[in-house]
């Protein structure tokens, strides 16, 4: 094996903010007052929040040190399955930081924000084109918010037809947000099992789909990294009973330029711009979760809608009486939308298709190179990710968690673990297209080495990681007596 990526360096300790402050310091350049003082009535005035007083240097050192305890895509390979941790182009940050975009007020008269509206109208069109859907709303703030939007659209559609339904079919491979979003609209999830091939069988759906069921919520490609080959037939079954098909499009990175969700029979779909469209994950967000629909569901999309007048001017319209309403105070996570727009313009149609092809190539390469080392849950050509398990390592009493933790010592972010739930001890790996062959090879070597360690020196895995800022943390004790503020 070549020299491993992980090395030990100098890690600096850093206190909590309020352990550092000294009263009388300041890290802010206070503007001078040019108006007289105007005190508020005393009974309204409080003591002010107990924030520590720090100097500018205190603040800079604090966060710089903290940042070195973190691992991001810019640090290295981050194969966190289902999260599409692809490289986040720096140009996106530049564009979102332009003063017009970052300073524009959402309540200005339309004539003063044409550029922002044009950007959003274009992006809606691009996303409709990429998915094969007819209309898009950019308002949802994240994937789960897009799911909520989509379920509300379905709910509103049935309500209009005077035909309210109580259930929704959700496969056992679904992300937890799917059932939780459906429940917010009052739907009772009906769980169905994924077939032996790792995808849904039409018979399974036919057996449960009835006129009490609003439809199905299905992730395609699914969370096993497999394309739902029978989705077209499944859509027909659902439609025949008057239901609608919701597709969780969080994994669209596998099929841009290849699959047509509209043709498959999908009625509503959400995208995760923070996955497929390269906007940074920000340590947990913000993302954006646009919701895309077929023509007949367009009247239900969130308001305001962006419309183009005959004059060519863009406007915001509330005139959609069947709309589900508003999901966010303003127009969505505009700053995230600018980044996704910048990405699509940088890539073009060919570039996006190529990205999907290489994402799938990378995942299949990883799968082939590792399937003798780790148990592969479904040995079939995969899409953007592949799911292994710890079955081969169990005889050494080594678990998925141990493998994940050991990867950190070697300089990698671990894959997603213990999800999807249908694979016991899942190790879900999504390399994405922005990883080179050399980097994948080094990661593969590392995992093979870890498999040898599992056999020969299992304690090394069980006590990993040893090179991070902290060793394994006691999450059970933390939850038993939560300390959530200092």
């Amino acid at each position: 094996m070549t020299e491993p990526l992980g090395a030990s360096g100098l890690i600096l300790n850093e206190k909590l903010l309020w352990e550092k402050g000294r009263k009388g310091r300041s890290g802010f350049s206070m503007p001078e007052s040019d108006v007289p003082s105007s005190p508020l009535p005393m009974e309204l005035v409080g003591d002010g929040p107990d924030f520590p007083d720090l100097s500018e240097v205190d603040v800079v050192r604090h966060y710089t040190r903290l940042s070195t305890w973190n691992f991001g895509v810019d640090t290295g390979l981050y194969p966190l399955g289902s999260c599409t941790m692809k490289y986040n182009p720096k140009t996106n940050e530049r564009q979102a930081g332009l003063s017009g975009f970052s300073g524009s007020h959402p309540m200005l008269p339309e004539s003063l924000c044409q550029g922002a509206l044009k950007l959003m109208a274009d992006l809606e069109r691009f996303l409709a084109e990429i998915t094969g859907m007819d209309a898009v709303s950019l308002q949802p703030a994240a994937g789960a918010h897009g799911e909520l939007a989509g379920m509300l659209v379905i709910h509103a559609w049935f309500k209009k037809k005077g035909n309210s339904r109580s259930k929704i079919i959700i496969p056992d491979t679904a992300h937890g947000t799917n059932p939780a979003s459906a429940a917010l609209c009052g739907y009772i999830p009906v769980q169905v099992h994924t077939g032996a091939e790792g995808i849904l069988a039409p018979e399974t759906i036919a057996a449960v789909m009835d006129e009490e069921t609003a439809g199905i919520m299905v992730t395609n490609p699914n969370t096993l990294g497999l394309f739902e080959n029978h989705l077209k037939t499944i859509s027909e079954i659902v439609h025949a009973k008057g239901g609608l098909v919701y597709a969780d499009g969080a994994n669209m990175n596998a099929v841009m330029g290849i699959a047509d969700m509209g043709r498959i029979g999908v009625d509503v779909l959400h995208l995760n711009l923070h996955k497929t469209f390269s906007t940074p994950h920000g340590g947990g967000g913000p993302g954006a979760g646009p919701v895309c629909v077929k023509k007949y569901l367009k009247p239900f999309l969130p308001v305001p809608r962006i419309i183009q007048k005959d004059s060519g001017q863009y406007a915001l319209s509330e005139d959609f009486p069947e709309s589900i309403g508003k999901l966010l105070a303003f127009h969505g996570h505009f700053g995230v939308l600018v980044r996704a727009y910048s990405y699509i313009l940088s890539m073009g149609a060919e570039g996006l298709k190529k990205a999907s092809q290489l994402a799938v190539l990378n995942a299949n390469y990883l799968k082939e190179q590792l399937k003798d080392t780790f148990h592969l849950a479904y040995d079939r050509p995969c899409m953007h990710e592949c799911v292994f398990s710890d079955r081969y390592q169990q005889e050494y009493n080594v678990t998925t968690l141990d493998i994940a933790k050991r990867l950190m010592d070697y300089g990698y972010h671990p894959p997603t673990i213990y999800f999807p739930l249908v694979v016991h001890g899942a190790l879900m790996m999504e390399p994405t297209e922005t990883e080179s062959k050399e980097d994948l090879d080094q990661y593969i070597d590392t995992l093979k080495k870890i498999a040898v360690e599992a056999k020969e020196t299992p304690d090394v895995l069980r006590s990993a990681p040893t090179r991070c800022k902290v060793r394994r943390l006691d999450e059970t004790a933390a939850a038993r007596k939560p300390c959530l503020a200092g």
Partner: protein, 443 residues
């Protein structure tokens, strides 16, 4: 394409390993009926430099201060952002990481969010604050869903002086599940009228915003007492977090749950998003909170560290029985807010709040001295309402041409308030700009 590292030779080698002839054939298992019939119709790819030119032009077409003098707040506030905050938040170790599921390799995010939770709890006067929500409006909605779960009652009472857009979002969240909203009107002094609450017993929560949409400071303590007498929870919140550099915190006035928008805390306005949904409560309700929480933990050697905790409330464990569907949140905005609060410190934060109030009070007095009516007499923070004589609309339009946005017309939100405009002033507005505005409006 510069983001795609594969050389043609490497692609061939890799295809051999996976047993495929071509990149296309990787998808051969996808049935014909699921495929696109045509290539995607998108604009041709732009070079980095062509993209810059295009985006520069698009961005330049937008009206922003200081070129424009914009006297609008209404949920998004123009505050100075220190260069340190912009630089530190851009560190890619923070920016390009995801949710800290693996704590040992994410201690930077985790400590920073723990510190955010702490500073935010001090600001809001509560015991616990979540790691973030999407915005103030979804934080309000989640607060009321919490109260509905807790009290098992199906109706909530909402001040009509909560931001009108927040109330619309709330409606979207509550109505499909069959929950009801009782709107509390407002009084002549610009505060919420609580009299509709008399005699009601089935209310899960009473919710107020302070400073409210008109900028007026609500009497939270009175409302809290009323809510608690009815067995309801008291929910209080804000759109302008800076107000609490000056005002008594909502928690200290008896709020059980506090929601808010934290955009003022160092986050660019960015056409309204992303912002920062702040949501906190007293410790009694912790396990009912939606969204992520960071807690303290010890490692194997007894060293202090941080983890995501109380996950059994969340969708990835509880699925449809979770306290919310939220997964990705606005963590990076919470990080930014923490950097901002740390940069200002208590002294800076209080002084800045005072400066904001002084400026807004100055402009309000100038309007009043110039003979315009200030319809609501209650004390306010940063924002206030002015009533203009009939026909001001034309003047408003002509001021736009002079790059002045003279407040936000309120009649779209409150049909009775024709010719009423909501004005906002922050530290970024100079006396000169305010005097110029008065001259223009008077003439």
């Amino acid at each position: 394409m510069r983001f795609l590292p594969h050389t043609p030779e490497q692609i061939q080698l890799m295809l051999m390993v996976v047993g495929a002839d071509s990149l296309e054939s990787l998808f051969s298992s996808i049935p014909e009926e699921c495929r696109r019939l045509q290539d995607m119709n998108l604009p041709d790819a732009l070079s980095e430099w062509a993209l810059n030119r295009y985006m520069d032009a698009l961005s330049a077409s937008l009206a922003v201060s200081p070129d424009y003098k914009i006297f609008i707040g209404a949920g998004r506030y123009d505050h100075y952002i220190p260069a340190t905050v912009s630089a530190l938040k851009s560190r890619s170790e923070f920016l390009t990481a995801y949710t800290p599921y693996q704590p040992e390799i994410s201690q930077g995010t985790l400590q920073a969010i723990y510190e955010y939770q702490t500073l935010a709890a001090r600001l809001m006067g509560v015991d616990v604050v979540t790691a973030s929500h999407y915005d103030g409006a979804t934080a309000l909605s989640e607060s009321l869903l919490m109260a509905i779960r807790k009290t098992r009652r199906k109706r909530v009472a909402i001040s009509s002086l909560i931001h009108p857009f927040y109330r619309r979002v709330l409606q979207t969240y509550l109505e499909p599940a069959g929950f009801e909203i009782l709107d509390l009107p407002f009084l002549e002094n610009g505060l919420t009228d609580l009299s509709l609450l008399e005699g009601t017993t089935d209310i899960a929560a009473v919710a107020l915003q302070s400073p409210n949409f008109f900028g007026c400071i609500e009497e939270l303590k009175t409302a809290s007492k009323k809510a608690h007498e009815m067995g309801a929870l008291f929910v209080a919140g804000f759109t302008e977090a800076l107000a609490y550099g000056l005002l008594k915190s909502p928690g200290s006035q008896g709020a059980d749950i506090v929601f808010g928008e934290g955009q003022s805390l160092g986050i660019p306005i960015s056409f309204g998003g992303p912002g920062l949904g702040m949501l906190g409560c007293t410790s009694e309700h912790t396990r009912n909170l939606p969204g992520r929480l960071v807690g303290k933990a010890k490692d194997l050697d007894g060293k202090n560290g941080f983890v995501l905790t109380l996950a059994t409330r969340e969708q990835h464990i509880r699925r449809e029985k979770a306290t919310s569907n939220i997964c990705s949140n606005n963590s990076h905005c919470a990080l930014t807010a923490a950097m901002y609060m740390a940069s200002l410190g208590k002294s800076g934060f209080c002084n800045l709040a005072k400066l904001n109030h002084d400026k807004a009070a100055y402009l309000c007095r100038q309007f009043s001295d110039a003979g315009f009516r200030i319809p609501f007499s209650s004390p306010f923070f940063n924002e206030f309402v002015v009533e203009f004589p009939k026909g001001f609309e034309t003047r408003y339009q002509s001021l736009l041409e002079k790059k002045i946005v003279a407040g936000l017309p309120l009649s779209t939100f409150y049909s009775k308030l024709a010719n009423h405009y909501l004005f906002c002033v922050t530290e970024t507005v100079s006396r000169k700009d305010m005097d110029a505005l008065i001259q223009e409006v008077k003439s």
